[in-house]
């Protein structure tokens, strides 16, 4: 039984990692073939680091992810704080229903509906096309918001409402009581929401595809237009670089987490 489950786990992980292993292997190929490995070379890494358009797209993606996660974190946290105080009833349930829409709807429908809105606005202001950084930012903030709200709300429910009141009784103004008492206690939720928003925005293709214009391309959109033709292994090289950097970040994060847990343990002892 043990060995069966080991083989099974191995097979599923092989399936999950097969395309990634292929991609890593062929990013070191001497020819541009993606089926025959003819020798080791670093030429594709060199060529991707010299490819201005791709680097530009990578830069755009990062800018968009940072700004959209920042905006959605602030807006979403404020929203959660307000929603938490709503009384049960129509207002609360309709706000929550609307919040769930971007998560339940197929991404393509969200993308298309955004595009229709932007086309309409374009007609209103008589512009050739409004699609660009602004529309992408709006779209990304919109699909990020539910994730921020839904990770902050449970934390708010766990915080004791009396704490903020106690701070006010002790002479704190409501605003500073909020920033000094409520915000620190919901911080883990805010950070989870922000990380989720950041990774979602970094990775999003479908919604961006419908809300972006030729002037501002993100990496997934650039990759999409490349995969319409034959992809050169330099894209593989770029993906390999991204993959390895995420892997290192995750490993570091895990080590840090373990260390802090050990500290907590030793403190308890």
């Amino acid at each position: 039984m043990k060995s069966i489950s080991k083989i099974y786990t191995f097979l599923v992980f092989l399936f999950l990692y097969a395309p990634i292993l292929v991609l890593l292997l062929f990013s070191f190929n001497t020819t541009s073939s993606t089926s025959v490995f003819s020798g080791f070379s670093l030429q594709w890494y060199k060529s991707i680091l010299e490819d201005k358009a791709t680097l530009r797209a990578l830069y755009n993606t990062l800018i968009l992810a940072v700004s959209s996660s920042a905006v959605s974190t602030v807006l979403g946290t404020a929203a959660a704080v307000g929603i938490d105080k709503y009384k049960k009833g129509i207002a609360r349930s309709s706000v929550m229903a609307v919040t769930n829409i971007p998560m339940m709807n197929p991404e393509i429908v969200t993308g298309v509906s955004m595009m229709l809105l932007f086309v309409f606005i374009g007609k209103l202001v008589n512009a050739e096309s409004v699609l660009g950084f602004g529309t992408l930012l709006i779209a990304h903030v919109t699909f990020n918001l539910p994730y921020v709200i839904l990770s902050v709300l449970p934390k708010l429910r766990q915080t004791d409402a009396n704490l903020a009141e106690a701070a006010q009784d002790l002479g704190c103004r409501p605003a500073s009581a909020f920033f000094k008492v409520v915000i620190p206690s919901i911080m883990p939720g805010i950070i989870t929401g922000m990380i989720m928003a950041f990774t979602l925005s970094l990775d999003d293709f479908i919604i961006s595809y419908f809300s972006s214009g030729p002037g501002f391309q993100t990496l997934p959109i650039a990759i999409f237009s490349m995969t319409k033709k034959r992809v050169k292994p330099d894209m593989y090289a770029l993906s390999a670089i991204i993959f390895v950097s995420i892997l290192i970040l995750l490993i570091l994060y895990n080590i840090a987490q373990q260390k802090s847990e050990e500290k907590v343990k030793t403190k308890k002892e």
Binding site: V36, L75, Y86, P106, V109, L116, I206, I223, Y236
Partner: protein
């Protein structure tokens, strides 16, 4: 004083309320509006009646979505169980390994499957070495479904695992003490208790599978048009926004219906367990 300050706190959410009306509700109203008008803005039912032409595409999308979801469920359930039985440290590593592929662009990973499955691809060149003739795999319905299973499998594993990890082990032990063998314990105890995870896994795989448009283009070679492909073409190639909007509207309604049916179905299941 207290009610005034709570009113003020509620007002903090107003920027979000405005935002969600402008960018969640209004766009959906535009979908409905475009579905029932023609390009000059007059009311028409032409877009809706043109949909009957796409019935086979809708049926194929739903069929592929169901098959992919079931395969994901069959693969994910045992794996989630295996992970949940490990020590905490191993669990954390395995969960990370399940999530890790999702951080790499799904476009590139799907494209990489093309290199694996092609007639001159990696599998066939390996098979050729041991003398088995090339097997045609790419551009079949199987390869499209494989692409869906591959891309959305983590969405099935994660919710099932997180329910299983929190399962009350004393229940499982009680079932064993009462003489249930391994299979009975899994069937009567673990499966019913992990139902909430299964339900959210099914939704998280089914919705993107039905509405995908990239996977079918790359791994299906254009011969397995799904509803997502048709919508994408209306917006990015033929610029028929009205037809595209009506297709999206129907897709949205279909998915809501499927989820309502599933919720009712699982609701009964839970009733049976109790």
């Amino acid at each position: 004083m207290n009610s005034r300050s709570s009113l003020r706190t509620r007002l903090v959410s107003s920027p979000y309320v405005v935002w969600s009306i402008l960018f969640i509700v209004a766009p959906l109203i535009f979908v409905v509006y475009y579905s029932f008008t023609n390009s000059s803005g007059n009311f028409t039912l032409d877009n809706i009646s043109a949909l009957s032409k796409y019935t086979p595409t809708f049926l194929r999308s739903i069929w592929f979505g169901i098959v992919a979801t079931l395969i994901c469920l069959v693969i994910a359930f045992p794996l989630a169980y295996i992970i949940s039985q490990k020590t905490e440290k191993v669990q954390r590593t395995m969960v990370m390994l399940v999530m890790l592929p999702m951080w790499m662009s799904f476009l590139i990973r799907t494209y990489s499957w093309m290199a694996i499955l092609q007639d001159t691809g990696i599998i066939n060149s390996l098979l050729g070495k041991i003398g088995i003739g090339p097997i045609h795999m790419i551009n079949t319905s199987g390869s499209v479904i494989l692409g869906m299973v591959y891309n959305f499998l983590p969405y099935m594993i994660m919710p099932i695992y997180s329910v299983m990890a929190k399962l009350d082990h004393s229940m499982v032990e009680a079932a064993q003490d009462l003489g249930g063998n391994r299979l009975t314990v899994i069937r009567r105890c673990i499966i019913p208790m992990s139902m909430p995870g299964v339900v959210s896994g099914i939704t998280m795989v089914f919705v993107p599978s039905v509405s995908t448009f990239y996977i079918s283009q790359k791994l299906g070679g254009g011969s397995f048009d799904l509803i997502g492909d048709v919508i994408e073409r209306q917006f990015q190639q033929s610029y028929n926004y009205n037809l595209g909007a009506s297709l999206s509207l129907v897709l949205m309604v279909l998915i809501l219906l499927c989820m309502a049916v599933m919720n009712r179905f699982t609701g009964d299941e839970e009733g049976m367990v109790i």
